[in-house]
């Protein structure tokens, strides 16, 4: 169920190239055990990146502008406490960015990593999770608001947040009108990954993908173990909406996938290992898988956004309703949503960012990579998965029946 693959192919040279000069120095702000714990948490997060020497490839981002001045932060740090907990995806944050926040404020960030929004939800729904900031995908947010798992954002505590910096494609969306509870982070697509040396002609649509998976490429296709992405993409292939919950349409999709299942290599969210081993030749994949596999095999691997539609997703920062370190959580959001920090995060995680100003600061190698930032035209037919889709018991049961079928 891990939606964010670990960057297995990310070699240190890449990280060095992508790392940018740390904007704040650590002098004077290592606050006892807090910083020590933070360092531990970061070390667990991604040691190779944390130890990468600072390079100077992005001077614009390195300019010491914006953000709170260190002295102001130091005086505020007593009120912020010494730690907070961030529930997020694997390899989604640049450890250097989190480290700098700790240096500036004395607040150590305890990072909890989850493989899916559903897993994050299980944790915060159980209550008393200790989690302050959560980064769920778009489709979960409405339900979380209804059950008050997250709180309306107090924008007064986000003085540096500038709405006009953000891409309108991701702001003020149906899942959170007016961005009452959420501020977008990175986004991506659910697309088709394939080996061009094995799959010919090239795949361009979900219709072609599912037809090829059941005929020409028996035993060579993988679909992810996620109702929204796989059932949704199959629905698109049959001409329905990604979000269909119409009983007749769902029955048709279920029938198609049940018949297809014996021909599949696997239903698994661990997309990359079989793809890299060429056990699979074509695969449902998320942006992160596409970016990494294509980067490591630029001549052969392809990741395409389907021409007949599919899923567009966005993860957003939210504050847990029972956040034990609310002030620290807001200080963190105010910091991490600044374009400079957002740009650093983007160059680390290699998912496109919803902040246009951040995108402008991103290294050209990342910004101009069509797998990371696809052409805007290719996105027009994509849909966000809605809460009703995420939440539909009928769709969940249909997916369970497909998985249980022989």
């Amino acid at each position: 169920m891990s939606k964010r693959p670990t960057p297995k192919g990310l070699d240190p040279a890449d990280i060095t190239a992508l790392a940018i000069e740390r904007r704040m120095t650590r002098r004077g702000f290592l606050v006892g055990t807090g910083a020590g714990l933070g360092a531990l948490a970061l070390a667990g997060c991604a040691p190779s990146a944390a130890s990468a020497p600072p390079a100077t490839t992005a001077p614009s981002a390195a300019a010491p502008s914006g953000g709170a001045s260190p002295s102001a932060s130091a005086s505020a740090s007593a009120a912020l406490g010494d730690s907070m907990t961030l529930a997020t995806w694997p390899n989604y944050h640049d450890p250097a960015v989190l480290e700098d926040f700790t240096s500036a404020t004395g607040v150590a960030i305890n990072v909890q990593v989850f493989g899916s929004t559903e897993e994050m939800e299980a944790k915060i729904r159980a209550g008393n999770s200790g989690i302050d900031v959560v980064v769920p995908s778009n489709y979960a947010i409405e339900g979380w608001v209804k059950d008050t798992l997250i709180e309306p954002l107090d924008y007064a505590k986000l003085p540096d947040f500038k709405k006009e910096d953000w891409n309108p494609l991701f702001m003020d969306q149906a899942f959170d009108k007016g961005n009452v509870v959420s501020i977008p982070k990175n986004w991506g697509t659910t697309g088709i990954a394939f080996w061009s040396s094995k799959v010919s002609p090239a795949l361009t649509s979900w219709k072609e993908f599912f037809q090829a998976a059941g005929s020409t490429y028996k035993g060579k296709a993988l679909i992810v173990d996620h109702q929204i992405s796989s059932f949704g993409s199959a629905a698109v292939a049959m001409g329905y909406s990604l979000n269909t919950i119409d009983p007749t349409e769902m029955a048709a999709v279920e029938q198609m996938l049940t018949a297809l299942k014996p021909q599949l290599f696997a239903i698994s969210s661990d997309v990359q290992p079989p793809l890299r081993a060429k056990d699979t030749w074509l695969s449902v994949a998320w942006t992160g898988d596409g970016v990494q596999v294509v980067r490591d095999n630029p001549d052969d691997a392809k990741y395409v956004v389907a021409s007949d539609g599919g899923e567009l997703w966005i993860d957003s920062y939210t504050v847990a309703a029972d956040a034990p370190h609310r002030d620290a959580a807001y200080a963190f959001l105010d910091y991490i949503t600044q374009p400079e920090q957002a740009a650093r995060e983007t160059m680390f995680c290699l998912f496109p960012h919803a902040n246009d100003k951040a995108t402008a600061m991103v290294d050209p190698a990342v910004k101009d990579n069509p797998v990371i930032y696809p052409a805007p035209d290719s996105l027009t037919k994509l849909e966000y998965a809605v809460n009703a889709t995420y939440n539909s018991p009928e769709r969940a049961e249909a997916w369970a029946r497909i998985k249980a079928s022989a």
């Binding site: 698994s268 081993a277 369970a400």
Partner: protein, 295 residues
Amino acid sequence: MAAAGRAGGNGRRAKRGTAALLALPTALWYLLFLIAPLVVLVVMSVGERSPNGGYAPALTLTQYAALPTRFTPLVNTLGLAALNTAICAIVAFPVAYTLALKVRGTWKLVLVALVVVPFWTSFLIRTYAWMTLLGGNGIPRILSWIGFGDIQLLNTPFAVSLGIVYNYLPLMVLPIYVSLERLDRSFIEASRDLGAGPIATLRQIVLPLAAPGILSGIVLVFIPVMGEYLIPVLLGGGKTYFLGNALADLFLQSRNWPFGSALAAVFVAGMIVLVAGYLAVSRRLVRAGRESSLI
């Protein structure tokens, strides 16, 4: 405890107090980690799925009424658990027999230790290793060099069985080994002296005496295999669907906690019946063993 005994004065009462005090940790343990979670499970299982997922309090049996929708994974799991437990037993018996009766001294120690060695590495890592071995660049490639053509091993029921037998075999070998180790060898000698062939001796002497060990092995393997989740995911590619996978999906994809709880409650009840049956049978076996040795 000694102080409590002295203060109490009455020796017998003090002894009872000491016993109660000694039992306290165990009692707390059972209460906190067995009874309390089971109560939570049962309470949730009569609840409803809240409209946005999770649990909403209720008193209804609708979750239990929906259980037949998980009939396929149940049958899958029962069938595969029985089959793989049987394979484990068939593979483990000769191993245990050799270890207990055929090798001696240092060799015996080393070989018994080797049975346990795989436990030193994480279950997850060992199962991942099989993914590499069974994947297209592993054994299938060697097979195709030899001329077997394009064979898919990973993500097949065969791979799931292999993973289960490989991982659970030690749990079958050890109890059988222990029961054979304790076996009085003079029985075997007497049987041979009285003209019984090796097969008759095995059937009439060794197997009945090893029966308690075999039975323990079966229970030790069958119950965890029934709850197996990881092996079908990693080696079955999500195409072989066990009860454990159905449960995980109910909690982590459908977010239907009450239905998941009902399924888990029924599963736990089934396992309790199984263990009760095992206890009854093993008691009878032990009694029969004692009586036959008196004769």
